[in-house]
């Protein structure tokens, strides 16, 4: 039996009185590519945000390589870990956001190297070499000295992915990385994600690109009302959904 890289147990999360995650369990083994699909408000993005502690959660546990993320439980008391410890744990995962969130005052290369020098404590030269390597990998080495405002949405997202992946995370989280892009820019970003998947990167991606989820995922999770509605192999799931909700969702989505 292979150990799980990511282990989510009975995850509960509320925003005020609204419970958005009502007990989610999920195991991810190294090398798996898992797509989370579902209608908006079903809790897809919230799962990713809990995994790297951008959101606090009230119940359940998340473990990466067996290490409990964000909280520690001792003597029945659940306590939030110290900020420094949480910062270290966040660097175990990389995240790409819907809105790219590049640092606007830094060049593409500086965006990638900031975490390498500050968090990974690399020397300037080593960080630069690694940063250039990853920018090359996403096809943007010639743009390394450009500021984000001078890059297209697709290019910004590729820099953002390079920034996350350069930190050599155990797990990559992609949060609707193509949703803010013009249609003609979607393909270049998906191509980068696909090539990372083919390299064996473990990833969890929230997406509305059903065709893409179908093609790259080893497993698909369908979220419905804060719970996992259905999960499994994409071919079987998309061909013969077991629940009416998934059937209706696939019908209304762009999958064709």
């Amino acid at each position: 039996m292979t150990a799980n890289l990511l282990e989510i147990r009975d995850l509960h999360k509320s925003y005020g009185p609204v419970e958005v995650l009502k007990g989610v369990d999920c195991d991810v083994r190294a090398g798996e590519v898992i797509s989370i699909i579902g209608s908006s408000g079903s809790g897809k993005t919230t799962i990713l945000r809990c995994v790297n502690m951008l959101e606090e959660f009230e119940g359940g546990t998340i473990r990466i390589d067996g290490e409990e993320i964000g909280y520690s439980t001792a003597g029945g008391q659940r306590k939030r870990k110290a900020e420094k410890e949480i910062a270290r744990q966040r660097a175990l995962t990389g995240m790409a956001f819907q809105q790219f969130n590049l640092f606007p005052h830094m060049t593409a290369l500086e965006n990638v190297t900031l975490g390498l020098t500050l968090v990974r404590k690399m020397g300037r030269e080593e960080a630069r070499a690694l940063g250039e390597n990853w920018l090359d990998r996403v096809g943007l080495l010639q743009r390394k000295d450009h500021y984000p405002a001078k890059l297209s949405g697709g290019q910004q997202q590729r820099v953002a992915i390079a920034r996350a992946i350069a930190m050599s995370p155990r797990l990559m989280l992609f949060d609707e990385v193509t949703s803010a892009l013009d249609p003609e820019l979607v393909a270049e970003v998906l191509q980068v994600v696909r090539s990372l998947a083919e390299d064996g990167m473990t990833m969890l991606l929230v997406t509305h690109e059903m065709r893409f989820a179908y093609e790259v995922s080893s497993r698909v999770i369908f979220m419905n009302g804060g719970r996992i509605g259905e999960e499994g192999n994409p071919r079987e799931m998309f061909a013969a959904p077991k629940t009416e909700r998934l059937a209706a969702f696939l019908q209304s989505s762009r999958f064709n």
Partner: protein
Amino acid sequence: MGYTLNFNAVWRNFDDLLWGLGLSLTLAFVAIGIGCALGLILAFGRISRSRLLSVPSGAYVTLFRNLPLLVIVLFSFFALPQLGLRLSKGNSFVLALALYSAAYLAEVFRGGLLGVPKGLREAGLAIGLTEGQIRWRLILPVMFRAVLPALGSTFIGLFKDTSLAAAIAVPELTFEARKINVETFRVIETWIVASGLYIATCSILAALLRRAEVRLAVSR
């Protein structure tokens, strides 16, 4: 009329005006430096979720924005010694201008901080930066670039406010001009030259700030 312009008396004392201008710039520079640091702390205080920080910061800004600078200057020079704090003329003016400018700069910085996109902080957190690193490496530089235009006009306004130091006989530009005026009776000439020096200095400051703006612009 019969008034003939004669600038000779002013030119003979021109050195005094230049020394005065130098002092004006020094006062402004030191006061604004302190004001920026204090203003930044106040701005973070005002947007803090803790009322223990936001309420006093807000009260400070309200207090100092509702007082005329001249009143603060006179209070600092005449009233503080009664309370046991005795400062030189120059220092008491710097204190007054620093406290006053902090209130205005806090508002400029607060606006800038509120305009920094939330995603910036999250992107920093996601790569493992600490809150302190995010504040210094991401939020402050982005905020600073965004507020530069507003900051520039605030700086120039504060530089001109140094003329109020004449009220407590700090020998800056306005004080020197008044001295020449009284000694030589060349009223019009004196104030034309003094005005010219203010205008020239402000124009140079504005040009420098505009260059900084262009060089640091977020969208290059």
